[in-house]
Subunit: 297 residues, 2 copies
């Protein structure tokens, strides 16, 4: 694959109550020169207008789970987001015939994820990009998604190269000034990097980088009817990216009893206590921390 990028899309409001991306896209609509670069076309998109208007994650179904190829071809799926997904495909291209080289999708989380770059499982171009950003901004963390069905159902999977920017902790329906401006900073640096590559420059990239490889998730303790029995343990709340060792307190029941982590391997949890994941039966995503080499080009 050539590294030449002709078209980039920046997407906000894939989830209608994550205001950071929504207001950043509105800012780019007002000041288009902020995302204009000489070497490629840049499109901006507010993905889920009805959910944005309702200040809800979604209306009928999580839009960021509607882009599996089978679902896009299924005309029996007629909910709002399933129809919306087909409209977005018409605009950004299909997976088989992409019209967009790279999608940046802007998200926020109630978890204390700071500035996180969410990458597909392994993709040399975006890994070099992310390593470059992490070198400029040492607070940035890089997560590699598990290569699974969820990944293929995301909006950003429509482009062969894609990047999620996930910032937190932010409550749903709230703007945080610092994280808003830091998200803009990451988008700007991403566009500058792509532009430099397109112009044949070689932006500085480190020889290796720390990544957090997603390896699964843990649900909350529940009773047989699915009712919650415990919360995240206070020692673990907001401790995203901190190592979790066997025996560490993980949950606290409503009656005050600590429940430890019983896995044997040390893991690095992220998305701890994300509001939207209660219904998805995810108390946290587990990752493995790895140092990986960056391929030279």
């Amino acid at each position: 694959m050539s590294d030449l990028i002709c078209k980039v899309a920046i997407v906000g409001g894939t989830h209608g109550n994550e205001l950071t991306g929504i207001y950043l896209i509105k800012k780019f609509a007002r000041l288009p020169e902020l995302v204009k670069r000489a070497s490629f076309e840049c499109e901006i998109l507010l993905a889920n207008p009805r959910a944005i208007a309702a200040n809800r994650r979604y209306i009928d179904r999580d839009l960021n789970r509607c882009f599996a190829s089978d679902d896009l071809a299924n005309h029996h799926l007629t909910g709002y987001e399933n129809n919306l997904a087909k409209q977005i495909v018409a605009r950004l291209g299909t997976k088989d015939r992409p019209q967009t080289d790279l999608i940046i999708d802007l998200h926020s989380t109630t978890s204390n994820m700071g500035l996180t770059l969410l990458l597909p499982d392994y993709q040399p171009f975006t890994l070099r990009l992310a390593a470059h950003l992490a070198q400029i901004y040492p607070d940035v963390r890089i997560c590699l998604a598990a290569n699974n069905e969820v990944g293929n159902s995301r909006l950003r999977s429509l482009a062969p190269l894609n990047l999620g920017i996930e910032v937190g902790a932010i409550a749903q329906g709230v703007l945080d000034a610092r994280l808003f401006h830091q998200t803009q900073m990451l988008v700007t640096a991403t566009l500058d990097y792509i532009d430099a590559i397109d112009r044949g420059e070689r932006p500085v990239v480190p020889a290796s980088v720390t990544v957090y490889q997603s390896i699964g998730s843990i649900d909350y303790p529940r009773d047989p009817a699915g009712e919650l029995l415990a919360t995240i343990h206070p020692d673990r709340q907001f401790q995203d990216y901190q190592p979790l060792h066997s025996g560490d307190p993980l949950f606290l029941t409503f009656d005050g009893e600590a429940i430890p982590y019983t896995g044997t391997a040390t893991v690095w949890p992220i998305f701890i206590n994300e509001a939207a994941y209660y219904e998805q039966e995810i108390a946290m995503t587990l990752t493995d921390r790895q140092e990986i080499g960056i391929e030279s080009r």
Copy 2:
């Protein structure tokens, strides 16, 4: 008025996405001995079942604004919460003919309010109760509501004595272990205090207490169409109860320009950046910090 309390109601889920109170009421339903006291009857209530099921603040209208006497008498108001309010009145009593002496309503906020007791404007009984709690738990802060229409439209206004417990910062749709158990601790201490009063004891109460008297609110800067122009300034985010002096940075525009507070009087903002108040055009509530004497009985 006699200080004898015969019936107390503890309410959670007045807002369906404030999980702390909801799960505390579920715990009390499972372990009723926790709220049982010899000297009074104690009822528990999950106020808005459909909003709780939907994990939303409300379905049609904020339930905690549906209890104005005119609205309760208005049969043309037929939204879900307006009907629900009439059912709750049938259970807890009307303002004119109260059947409940004291209501404790459990809330959470995305603002950094810690452990806050929300009292009606001035009410000697609840002020003594709050002063007692603040003496036991020095982190507790006491807010006196403005005596206005909003106060009279709240669920807890159905009882002549009432108390809101407001804890944060918690994102909507999220449980925080520490604040959950601290909320339970405050409810327990409140019930113990009432029981002691009923039995003729005189629980320790300080001679004076610090209160934050609500004096109004400020909206976000907006354009003529109502669109947000700025966020809370990062220096002010999560700084509830900290003094705001004339000239202090208050907002930050999306273009990075600080907007100062232009009032002349020092105020103590609370409910800073509460998610549910964007639509109510409230960026924060302003309070005046006062030291007030506690009447001896």
